[in-house]
């Protein structure tokens, strides 16, 4: 065999071996266990703590409001629909209660007249005509909208 070819092959072999050796060292441990990805990444994706705790968790302290809401038209809606958590996932909600201002704009998110919302079981109002500049919660209890206050 010619010297040239031998030297070149040798360099090639050195290169490929080095490549494979580095590869063995660098590939993450769990890579390829379940497919072409790092299997431990599944655990990483699971690892976060939920912010939204669910209606049951809210009801464990606020049973009265839960019962009230269950009795009226907003019964289908979960607490955190209107009260999104304002704290990070690991803190108790008492530290920063998820209060909402019952402004017209807030209620309008669902109830303002929109051609895309008709006949979907959500009352649609011409807000201006309905009650001028008053806030909705001045008349309606948001947990039981048909219980009108004076």
């Amino acid at each position: 065999m010619s010297k040239i070819i031998f030297r070149l092959l040798l360099s090639f072999i050195v290169f490929v071996t080095a490549f494979i050796a580095i590869r063995q060292l660098v590939i993450p441990e769990s890579f390829g266990k379940l497919g072409h990805y790092r299997a431990n990444s599944i655990e990483d994706n699971k690892a976060r703590v939920p912010f939204y705790k669910g209606t049951e968790k809210c009801a464990s302290c606020h049973q009265d409001i839960y019962d009230l809401q269950f009795s009226d038209l907003h019964s289908e809606i979960s607490c955190e629909s209107c009260h999104p958590p304002k704290i990070d996932a690991n803190t108790e909600c008492k530290i920063m209660p998820p209060k909402v201002e019952g402004t017209i704009e807030f209620c309008a998110q669902c109830h303002k007249m929109n051609a895309g919302r008709v006949d979907k079981g959500v009352p649609q109002l011409d807000i201006e005509e309905h009650k001028g500049d008053q806030n909705c919660i001045e008349c309606h209890n948001p947990h039981a909208p048909w219980e009108l206050t004076e």
Binding site: R7, L8, F19, V26
Partner: protein, 398 residues
Amino acid sequence: MEEHFQHLYQALSQVDGYIYPNEIDLHWGLMIVLYPYITGLVAGAFILASLERVFHVKVLKPTYGLALLTALAFLLVATMPLVSHLQHPFRSYEIFMTPNSTSAMAIFGFVYLWYLMAVLLLEIWFDYRRDFVIWSKTSKGFKKLFYQLITLGINDTDEKSAKLDDRLGYFITVIGIPSAFLLHGYVGFIFGSIKANPWWSTVLMPIIFLFSAMVSGVALVMLIYMVVSWIRKVDIDMKCLDTIARYLLFILIIDFTLESLDQIHRIYEAEESFDIISVLVSGKLNITLLVMQVGLGTIFPLSVLGLFQFYKPSERVRKFFYFLVGGMVLIGIFFMRWNVVIGGQLFSKSLSGFTSFKTVYSGMEGSVMAAVWLILPLFILAFLLWLMPPWKKVTYHE
């Protein structure tokens, strides 16, 4: 980040029609325009060199070495725009460590490596090996050290070894042609295989990329040959230049035919995406596509080169026009890449609206960076020409 948000808010205010909210941020910018551009120059330059070596177009001899070194200089930079556009550039090694076999981009890494290591470096090495040995005896300092190292300790200069070099070099070039086709065809496939994007997703994309690559590479070598000759104060071999220009004309015709075929096919089939694409072409892309790519980059060179096949003006006039045409073609192909990469992202995949693109100057994706990646290969080429000047070679392949 704030600056980026400002930029996006501005883009948001210019949205035309409806686009998916995540599409306001254009993800592939100037760097991805450069990447197929530079890779194309490599493939094109290499194929010009192969014309001389494999297809025995002997009149192209003055450009053989130049074309190979040009290809090498640009190939060394080809991946840099890609890496600098990554959000996590230090993770880029993962492409080689755990390449996803279904990903066009992952396999490109290996195609690139194959082409650089197994084709281009080897061919140049075989071509220069005997000269390295001879030069190592006459030169001093860094050059001597480099020549001694690069010979891998083989000091044969006899006829037999030269013949072996020649045969192996020829063999590599023969392998090199399909490899160069693969290299740039593959770049086309990276875009052509994206079924989500109707502007990219066409089977013709790899072959259009391939021929436009040849066009740009041939034009580049033509320009570099002229410039290098002027700098060296030697006469330009007009026969060689005329031949390059003739090949440029042939490849341009094929390229233009293929691209027209693609467009005619779109227009005639007028699929779901046709409405938005026709607005794209006549609106957002009218300057870069119709003026720069088609007008300046294709029609003008085609007319000039075509005319020269029938009517040959004086050498001075021809040189001037070859220089002009070479430059125009390079600009035209740059805008062809632009129209593919940027154009493909300007319209929404909802097919109902457009976003806008504005180049920025600074940053990893800015135009300053782009200029760096375009000029750097020229410096590398100058260095290579100093280190291993093709015109000082003693040995020549058959």
